[in-house]
């Protein structure tokens, strides 16, 4: 499908925490140093740097500018920025490397949700005339999606609780998880509603965190690590911003991206889905046709740690980790943006045989 073979050669993430007591650039500096140390690269050997972050989350127009401090930009560097999750920065790096004139890119995503109120901030993603003045926030839209699933008979409240129970238990094995515990489905179902039919535990935690990866082209990738994780493809698609025009029980954009990538041309050993609310995992599993033995969200997923603007790139890191460790050979990472899975990105990764 692609002319150039591009691989992830190194990856790193900060643990998702309720409050990171220092700055976003500091997080990024740590990750950059970690990746350079691991690969033995010097800063100047990185041809292209691209990051994803969100000014509004930080509460400061132009906040992203300071993040450059973390990556290093002296002498001057070729770099860019998207006001999107780091997974989209990865997309841009992957596209850029295929032009063929550069070899190595540093990709990052970062965000601190702790200082502001994400529920209020992210209501500003909706239509400015018809929805934003109502403060229509992502939790409320997730509630609408949950209700639609129940009404369509595609899921039950027990199904939502099972996603939560499984995820939070899996999080116990993840040193980067913020919220992890062993809690039964029945105990979860006893909790009160928050945005009915969602309960508080169906929502992601508020997290600060960052992730970064180094990607390299062809031979360079093989020089930089023993086990490159090949990016077989990245595709992303978006659905309407008008909820009345969408079927909230389905994710056609995710399905379309999967078709474009040939996701089902082979087995999917592991899938890390950016399911921020438990019903989202159900919608995504149905749209992607994922079933056993595909292991879903072994990291615990966003329900265990949700560093907004990095959380999609973290899914890529978690799949890459499992491929490198050998517990998976072919994996799918998913990232999303907007209310109720409006925009979806898929990254298909594969290790050497």
């Amino acid at each position: 499908m692609t002319a150039q073979e591009i691989a992830i050669v190194a990856f790193a993430q900060t643990p998702a925490v309720r409050q990171y007591g220092d700055s976003e650039p500091a997080m990024l500096m740590d990750l950059t140093n970690q990746l350079l140390a691991e690969t033995g690269l010097e800063r100047k050997e990185i041809d292209f740097t691209i990051a994803g972050s969100c000014d509004y989350l930080s509460g400061l127009p132009f906040a992203f500018v300071m993040n450059v401090d973390g990556f290093g930009a002296w002498p001057p560097v070729y770099e860019s920025h998207v006001e999107m999750d780091g997974a989209w920065a990865l997309f841009e790096a992957w596209v850029r490397l295929q032009v063929g004139d550069i070899d190595i890119a540093l990709v990052a995503g970062s965000g601190k949700s702790s200082p502001g109120k994400p529920r209020e901030i992210f209501a500003l993603q909706t239509n400015p005339y018809y929805c934003a003045p109502l403060g229509l926030d992502p939790v409320s839209v997730a509630g609408l999606q949950a209700r639609a699933l129940l009404d369509a008979g595609k899921a039950s409240e027990r199904d939502f609780a099972e996603v939560v129970s499984r995820s939070r238990r899996d999080g116990l094995a993840n040193p980067n998880a913020q919220v992890a515990k062993d809690v039964s489905v029945d105990a979860l179902l006893k909790e009160p509603y928050f945005a009915a039919p969602l309960r508080r535990h169906d929502l992601p935690p508020i997290s600060d965190g960052a992730a970064a990866v180094l990607v390299a082209r062809g031979e360079r990738a093989r020089q930089l690590c023993e086990r490159p994780i090949w990016i077989r493809g990245i595709d992303h698609r978006i659905e309407s911003s008008h909820l009345g025009l969408r079927d909230l029980t389905d994710s056609p954009s995710t399905r379309l991206a999967a078709e474009k990538l040939g996701v089902h041309d082979g087995p999917i050993d592991v899938a890390e889905l950016c399911a921020r609310y438990s019903p989202e995992e159900i919608v995504l599993r149905l749209a992607l046709g994922l079933r056993a033995p595909t292991r879903i969200n072994p990291s615990g997923g966003p329900l265990c740690g949700h560093p907004v603007m990095a959380t999609g790139l973290v899914r890529v890191v978690e799949v890459a980790r499992r491929i490198r460790e050998g517990s998976a050979r072919r994996g799918l990472a998913h990232a999303t943006s907007g209310p109720a899975l409006q925009q979806n990105l898929l990254c298909l990764l594969e290790g050497d045989a």
Partner: protein
């Protein structure tokens, strides 16, 4: 450093949006107590769009009244409303298919309790007493609860709609920033010296960005209260929401003796503009101990907070331009 208060800030602006050829008529009709949809290849879209969502073709302004009643297609009960929600007490958000429309609108339903909500139930639009030419002027109630309303039609078209966005942020001062802040309260400047390059940063961001090295408390150094003006600008205040300045004033960057990076954002109000110049030698005069405050100092902003009462010329000869030319920021 938990004895210092967290740094808090509110980002607030009253945005004014022009409505254009479709949202305009929609909000105009809404002001007058009617809800409009727009015809699109045999269907009626509500809320109305300027274009056909399938083909992208611009639509003719062929409006049709819909509602005020309709059916709930999906709903969610908000047990703990956010500050920015339409109601302070629990309510539902719902997708509502208004009578006569083919697409659903998202809006708020004021029902007494979650038990009154159900998929497929009928709701009806109600208008608020105080209206602002916004989508929030209307809300929905279970049809049985709806009361008759008579709205006086307004005059003219609604060409603008206003949205006040107010977001609050609060976080503790980072350790290095808290130590800097404490230093200010103690009447001194604390910077950080890079163990790699030896450069002194003030105020420090907690790292040496040139060497990509995090700095620690062991790297703290006290820097003199005297320094040189390396650059300044005379700001003529422009009026905007939240602007408190009315008179032109100097904003200067001062390179404190011992620092390698200037201290910026220093408002100079006690030295006449005509006498101010780059190269001037100044001394920070801190306020009396009990009066020093952190003011707007936060993790990214604030220079010296409200700890300094003014910068005084020291009377020393100016530093020549060549010696400060590289510190122009």
């Amino acid at each position: 450093m938990s004895d210092l208060p967290p740094a808090s800030f509110t980002l607030e602006y009253p945005y004014t949006r022009s409505t254009g050829p479709v949202v305009g008529p929609f909000l105009t009709a809404l002001r007058d107590g009617r809800i409009l949809g727009i015809r699109c290849r045999g269907r009626v879209l509500c809320p109305p769009l300027e274009f056909d969502p399938k083909t992208g073709e611009t639509l003719a302004p062929d409006f049709v009244e819909v509602g005020p009643g309709g059916r709930v297609q999906s709903w969610t009960w908000i047990a703990e409303p956010a500050r920015t929600h339409p109601f302070a007490e629990p309510f539902a958000f719902a997708t509502i298919l208004l009578d006569g429309a083919d697409t659903a609108l998202v809006h708020a339903v004021r029902a007494g309790s979650i038990d009154e909500m159900s998929t497929g139930m009928r709701v009806r639009a109600q208008w608020r007493e105080e209206r602002r030419q916004s989508i929030a002027d209307v809300f929905f109630v279970p049809e049985a609860r709806a009361r008759e309303q008579r709205l006086e039609p307004g005059r003219g078209e609604v060409e603008m709609t206003e949205q006040l966005i107010s977001l609050s942020y609060s976080e503790p001062l980072y350790p290095h920033r808290a130590r800097y802040a404490k230093g200010l309260l103690e009447g001194r400047f604390i910077g950080q010296k890079s163990p790699v390059s030896g450069k002194v940063y003030l105020p420090s961001k907690g790292y040496d960005l040139l060497e990509r090295v995090r700095l620690t408390e062991a790297d703290d150094v006290v820097v003199a209260n005297t320094g040189t003006v390396v650059s300044y600008t005379v700001i003529t205040p422009v009026q905007y929401y939240g602007q408190k300045e009315t008179e032109p004033s100097i904003r200067a960057s001062i390179l404190l003796d011992g620092a390698d990076q200037p201290l910026g954002q220093q408002d100079i109000r006690n030295i006449p503009i005509a006498k101010f110049r780059a190269g001037m030698r100044l001394r920070a005069v801190f306020k009396p101990p009990g009066e020093r405050e952190l003011g707007e100092l936060d993790n990214r902003w604030g220079g010296t907070g409200s700890a300094i009462s003014r910068w005084e010329p020291t009377g020393e000869p100016d530093v020549p331009f060549e010696k400060i030319a590289e510190h122009n920021w």
